[in-house]
């Protein structure tokens, strides 16, 4: 991997110049809410530590889209969501989140929609300083080594730019004279100091490493009932979590003809009651406590396939989102201390 230096003055021109590689996307404030959205001007970009409301997954695993059109001749795939994009301002935990989703959507057989969006998108990562609820240091996702085309670390007087792919290198070549190959010892020292400063800034942490065992041991714990009683089953935690992949599929008929319509895919949540309902109304996971248990097993014990690693990337969104304070912090703490949180 190559590491280059860039002066902050060039940032705007460089980023806006990437338009030739695809439509620019990035965190942008709309009606007060930070969202990944198309970027029209540099000033719209929000490049600090703040989390977007919905994670990066929304650009690769869209909330709601048509998989197929069908008519009397059968099904035809609808790939109209594909678009060449350059996504700017992606934090390390977000990149880790996407790498986790890759483990689901790109393993055989790959999901063609996710794969297509992934293939058509460049990721320009940006360093961040930990936000109030950042937990990525606990989950080991505070830095990234892969999953980006370029990654910018903001060291105030200059940027260090990691080049993560040949596509990223092509972008650099566009504006070659903005970049300096000569990274000095002093620069490295500044970077190390920045890392240390950043490490010290984390305000919250939790015992992520021991959670797989603790979850396993707590299978019958009444702590689950405590959280189950509180949970509103609103599903917000699953929507905002970067590594939740569940979706549902529904057919929508056209009004005009009997045989034509579309097959729609939409995010779903294991927090909803009908999620694991099977024939005859038998529900394997009706109690709210059981739904939460499944979720936290995925986040903190193992994810999606046998012996996989836990899915939590420490973004802190569940901490910010749950109206009744059920999140990786409160749950891991309660399970570890065997005590329910104080009201």
């Amino acid at each position: 991997m190559r590491i280059l230096k860039m002066k902050p003055d060039f940032l705007k021109e460089f980023l806006m110049g990437l338009e030739g590689f695809g439509a620019l996307y990035g965190p942008k404030r709309q009606s007060g809410i930070l969202k990944y959205a198309p970027i029209e001007s540099y000033d719209e970009l929000v490049l600090d530590g703040e989390n977007t409301l919905l994670p990066l997954k929304r650009l690769f695993h869209p909330m709601r889209f048509d998989m197929f059109r069908f008519d009397s001749r059968g099904f035809e795939a609808d790939y109209s969501i594909f678009e060449k994009r350059v996504i700017i301002g992606v934090h390390p935990c977000e990149i880790h989140g996407i790498l986790k989703l890759d483990e689901v959507f790109l393993v055989h057989p790959p999901d063609p929609y996710y794969a297509g969006l992934r293939k058509n998108s460049a990721i320009i990562g940006f360093s961040c300083l930990p936000a109030e609820n950042a937990l990525c240091r606990s989950t080991g996702t505070d830095i990234v080594a892969e999953g980006f085309d370029l990654f910018f670390v903001d060291l105030t007087d200059f940027y260090l730019v990691w080049v993560g792919s040949s596509f990223g290198y092509d972008m650099i070549l566009e504006k070659e004279d903005f970049f300096d190959e000569n990274v000095t010892h002093e620069d490295i020292q500044i970077y190390i100091e920045w890392r240390e400063k950043r490490n010290r800034m984390f305000k919250k942490s939790f015992n992520f490493r021991d959670m797989p065992d603790i979850i396993e041991l707590s299978y019958k714990s009444e702590i689950w009932d405590y959280f189950g009683k509180k949970c509103l089953s609103c599903g917000q935690c699953t929507m905002v979590c970067p590594t939740c992949n569940c979706y549902n599929v529904t057919d929508v008929l056209d009004l005009a003809t009997e045989t034509s319509g579309r097959r729609e895919r939409m995010w779903d949540s294991c927090m909803f009651a009908d999620y694991s309902l099977v024939a005859g109304g038998h529900n394997f996971r009706h109690a709210r406590a059981d739904r939460l248990k499944l979720w936290y097993t995925h986040k903190l014990k193992a994810f999606a396939h046998k012996y996989g690693s836990p899915a939590c990337v420490g973004c802190g969104r569940c901490v910010e989102t749950c109206p009744v304070d059920i999140n990786v912090l409160t749950v891991s703490e309660a399970l570890t201390s065997c005590e329910v949180p104080e009201e």
Binding site: L53, K229, S233, L255, E320, P323
Partner: protein
């Protein structure tokens, strides 16, 4: 093969008639709709309804008079499938916010003490208090896309799909910040989705017009809203406002607890 067109009737009872208007005003799809069906009776659109056997009856409004009771029974007899449209037909609407008060008032008083309700109740009942209802299109007013999806399935002989999720589901897909975090009086988690989270999209709390979400955690949400300083009786009143008859089971759950 000459295409069979389902015979459709649209009827309105006590209510605001807004839902039927909505169907008429869906102009881009209106032609498709009229082409796909044989309109037998459209109380608002045609002044001369044909009262014959029909495949699908869309019925709006709640049942408030004996005459209406007879009329809905008669429609039920003639209709293959009966769809209740709008909050009034589904839950009784605001007219039913004191639903079943005769026996209920006493219990309510026991449970909640003396609460003054604002409006004077007109006894209105949802359709399924009188006849059996096959499908529901809740809302005040109903959602165009939900209505069209249901109608398309019905007229093409497929069974409609439910959306048994809270308003919060769509609210999050629409990237709204949760109003509960600002201690606002939102009933989203207790309310059935399908409206595309119309109110939170505009920064307004959900007041529950789609009717209760059967999976709602009423106990906990009540406690949460009270912790915001919202008086107990205000919460009950709002929950009942659109919950009508459908909320009673859940209210009783609450009273059982306290």
């Amino acid at each position: 093969m000459p295409e069979y067109k389902p015979r459709v009737g649209i009827y309105g009872f006590t209510g605001c008639a807004g839902d039927q208007l909505l169907i008429i005003h869906t102009e881009d799809r209106l032609l498709d709709f009229f082409n796909a069906v044989e309109m037998r009776s459209f109380v608002m659109a045609s002044s001369n309804p044909l009262e014959t056997e029909i495949d699908i009856a869309f019925v709006e409004g709640s049942i408030s008079t004996e005459e209406e009771r007879q009329h809905i029974k008669e429609i039920r007899d003639r209709a293959g499938v009966l769809v209740a449209i709008g909050n009034c037909a589904v839950s009784g609407g605001p007219q039913a916010m004191f639903a079943k008060d005769g026996s209920f008032a006493r219990r309510l008083k026991q449970v909640y003490g003396d609460i003054k309700f604002i409006t004077n109740p007109v006894e209105g009942a949802p359709l399924d208090e009188v006849v059996s209802v096959d499908y529901y299109l809740p809302g005040c007013p109903i959602s165009q896309s939900q209505a069209m999806a249901l109608i398309a399935r019905l007229i093409h002989g497929a069974d409609p799909e439910e959306f048994p999720h809270p308003v919060c589901h769509e609210c999050k897909l629409n990237e709204n910040l949760c109003l509960l975090l600002d201690q606002k009086f939102c009933l989203g988690p207790l309310t059935l989705g399908g409206c595309h989270s119309a109110c939170p999209n505009n920064g307004l709390p959900c007041v529950g017009c789609w009717g209760p979400n059967p999976d709602g955690n009423f106990e906990e949400q009540l406690g949460l809203l009270e912790s915001f300083g919202i008086p107990h009786e205000d919460i009950i009143r709002r929950v009942r406002n659109f919950g009508g008859y459908k909320i009673l089971a859940h209210i009783e759950k609450l009273s059982g607890k306290r």
